[in-house]
Symmetry: C2
Subunit: 609 residues, 2 copies
Amino acid sequence: MKKILDGIKLPSDVKKLNIEQLNLLCGELRDEITEKVSETGGHLASNLGTVELTVALHYVFDSPDEPIIWDVGHQCYTHKILTGRDITGIRTEGGLSGFPKSAESEHDIFVAGHASTSISAALGIAQAKKISGDEGSVVAVVGDGACSGGMIYEAMNNAGRSGTNLVVVLNDNEMSISPNVGAMAKYLANIRSKESYFRFKDNLEHTLLKIPVIGKGIFSVLRAVKTFFKDMFYSSNTFEHFGFTYIGPVDGHNIEMLIRTLRRAQSIKKPVLVHVNTVKGRGYKPAEENPSKFHGVAPFYKENGELKKESADSFSSEFGKIVCQLAENDEKICAITAAMTDGTGLRKFSEKYKNRFFDVGIAEEHAMTFAAGLAAGGMKPVFAVYSTFLQRAYDQILHDASIEPKHVVLGIDRAGIVGGDGETHQGTFDVPVLTTIPGTVIYSPADYKELRTDLEKAFSAKGVQAVRYPRDSEKDIPEEYLADYRDFNYFKGEKDCLIITYGRLFSEAAFAAKETGASVLKLGKIFPLEQNPVDIAKKYSTVLFFEESVKNGSIAEHFGTKLSEAGFKGNYNIHCVSGFVSHMKAENAIKLHGLDRESMKTAVKEALK
Amino acid sequence: MKKILDGIKLPSDVKKLNIEQLNLLCGELRDEITEKVSETGGHLASNLGTVELTVALHYVFDSPDEPIIWDVGHQCYTHKILTGRDITGIRTEGGLSGFPKSAESEHDIFVAGHASTSISAALGIAQAKKISGDEGSVVAVVGDGACSGGMIYEAMNNAGRSGTNLVVVLNDNEMSISPNVGAMAKYLANIRSKESYFRFKDNLEHTLLKIPVIGKGIFSVLRAVKTFFKDMFYSSNTFEHFGFTYIGPVDGHNIEMLIRTLRRAQSIKKPVLVHVNTVKGRGYKPAEENPSKFHGVAPFYKENGELKKESADSFSSEFGKIVCQLAENDEKICAITAAMTDGTGLRKFSEKYKNRFFDVGIAEEHAMTFAAGLAAGGMKPVFAVYSTFLQRAYDQILHDASIEPKHVVLGIDRAGIVGGDGETHQGTFDVPVLTTIPGTVIYSPADYKELRTDLEKAFSAKGVQAVRYPRDSEKDIPEEYLADYRDFNYFKGEKDCLIITYGRLFSEAAFAAKETGASVLKLGKIFPLEQNPVDIAKKYSTVLFFEESVKNGSIAEHFGTKLSEAGFKGNYNIHCVSGFVSHMKAENAIKLHGLDRESMKTAVKEALK
């Protein structure tokens, strides 16, 4: 029973509350979010940090006429609740998406699963309003983490002098500011959000310059970015150079101050940047103490924050182990991540090989060209990256690493279907996209042992070498299909039907073949395709290709072309992922798209009829 | 006869000259460049602007051990000459590439045809040096134009505190600084490059802050970016916030000062930014007066700078005309370019519809998401972009414009083979890449009339609508093949052989069909493929698909898949572009890759044997 929250069906209900009630509402929202996320898992810390901010935004602005665009989008839970949605079962099949989704609500005006896009999108909407004479504001809420992405700068370059009613809220949840500076900052924020601001500006900047801000021993990229921003706020005001009016920093948990500041921003009628300090995990002790663990978290016990199930091994953790071992014997191996040290399994590498490890922040374009530079300098870099985020670096792989081939290993994590994150995070495009680039080699292991072989091959070859593997653990494979996997393995069955597949789906194919008598061709090196597997496939009347990829540009399609060129006249059926895959358990999506063993068995039986 | 230049075979020869000789050398280099570019066309203004800078760089640094990375790369002509290469016939078949190319010289350590990549690449090489204990410097030369690209910021975030011997030279060739500020700046540069710099820094910054820098009436993005940089240099030093030591600005045509400054930069042994002011077109009056015309220029008369051939109509100019006309009747049409107003034919639109025109700078990622934002706000944006640069925005098309479909029109210029720019600029990837994205529609007109129809269709549809067209003019088409082109047109011949193609190659196909009796299926809407054309093709014994695209993911491949699914048992041959295409006339490349009418005729005759 949540007294205030139960009465909120729409943002307009928020506007009726007084400050005391708003504060009570925030407490109830925290309870609701913690409770529901503890059941399903999801993004917790960032959502707890933005409760007051979201309430204040909906109090001040008129969504959806004054739309609020979330960057990255995983901090939108409060927004979902205030716009009349129940987050029970969020990120699970049938429940809400964990990201903004226009199909759910008119208040979700722009999708956001990848970082650093919000100012570009918001500026577009704001320009549209300006052209049509609509005076409403458009709000973009950006976390400081997203500020390492180049798109933020590209957008700022265009936004500041656009003359639009754009309000950028910088949700700054990690900068630790010393008490002195903090006190000064608050003082300044107070003055700055008053009418007298403009007159006092020059004097203030003079004062600001006296504040010491650059600490010693600041080395990591994340720190560098944050220091840069910190410097901008306190010493010079780079945002104002871009043309923004700057207001802040504001205590992101003081609802009264937030409302006053946002109202001021709304009234300025030109691009404004509001700098808000928030605390990740605010109000839930385990999350405040360990915001990283509770960033994206599995189901946990609300009482103590302990996970309901300890995390198992995974392709990511195995990848990390293998790369560490390889690096021990080869001083040239370097590892790069774009803000995903833990997600990609590189934590240990980062500690053990400090000088050969590079976390570049959310900056996949730079990461790829930087990797090509390391290779040009004689190193052997591996860029470990989620399939979906590698999409950002297509041009860099092609232009910087392939036209003049550089030996860069890509460790492509979360390849194929990913599960709860849904449409914005699927790894179903990397294969089609990489195979357009001349010279690329792609491996897709079915188990950990093959992952190791593939990485060894990748590190000892030339050019762009991609090893792609799914989220989660290796799957069971029937004993008679276990082998020392090579570039391809052929398991002959008694029936005139051949299943071709690779990676995680090999487990499904092996079970289906065992039960139906079909043959299986397992690809290990999936690109470029060799002639041998084509010659094997050619002898069958029916060939079925199963693949966790969109169809256009898939290996299945390339294989079909080669079959046709080889004069194959049998039946060739491609089973791929169709369109964008929404959030549900990966195994369910695999079933839904006809890629599980039962679907395979049905297809084989159909072929043999 | 060039007295000094004739004696230069290697950078080490430059190091032997005294200042007087270096100045003479610069004059001779200017003559050589102007003369040779007047014959072949090429990038002139930027090369004339960087003569002294390049000479000074080779005087101070030891290339290739201390490599120089050029961003974008088209200003590398002096570098090519000083490293022993003859630029006669540059950009033409058999001549040098107009961009750095490692196959030509060990001094070209990193390819660069796309902007904003140099700091990432240089940082990679610098980190490799650091890891291996090599104390040499790595130099990146970045133009101010490239600074609107997000990669520059991503790289700066990572570079400043890297502890590497990285020297970034900012080649600032367009900022106009008022005489007062200029004088002060020179004074400061002088002080700053002296040993006393560090001690005086605090005082200097205080002084710097008193300089007024933000002019009135500065609106365009380019200006915004430049103002941002100008502000950085003079009011606060943002580069130093990133961790760079800043030196500058330096007169980029004073060789003595350049050498002194670069030596200082080399000696600092940590990341340094050297800010150099240069004049585009320096020393050749027509280019100084009209640097934009002489940025990338066709062959001209050296005496007066007049073009040898007036520029003809082109798909680009027609595109501009059509979009202007459509915008007259539809107030929702907006146009976006990424620093290519002239190249994409949008000059007139930019003048006529100021409030609906957006030049975002070199920032394709932002451009695409901004377009999606405009669409979300009810506008009908067209993003006019070269095929090769659209590669930068793959993720934005997919994630921001397609998962939740936004009606964005893409005007894809320079689609297919491009000619003199070579490998880094080919438009042979956009089709494979776009067809991976569910919901995309692609048109490829064969002539101007069809370009109009396609654009009309694209503006009246939904989702991402791409219209792609080649560089240069429409081609001759035999009269009997002229038609009111539709989504597909079928021209039945008497022979049992079908040629399928689209776009510019239709001209080749029509001539080939006319002479051989083959049938032709011309696609207009090339994606998604409809069933009708497949049903037509199915009836033939031989189907030949010709396409200006790489093969993997091509329409030819998708068509083949559909044919196979339709039970086609005939011969299907795909003729596509193979690998990366080097610089030569487009028509020659088309021949080389077997896509011209003669190759088509041979293929038809072969099939009919």
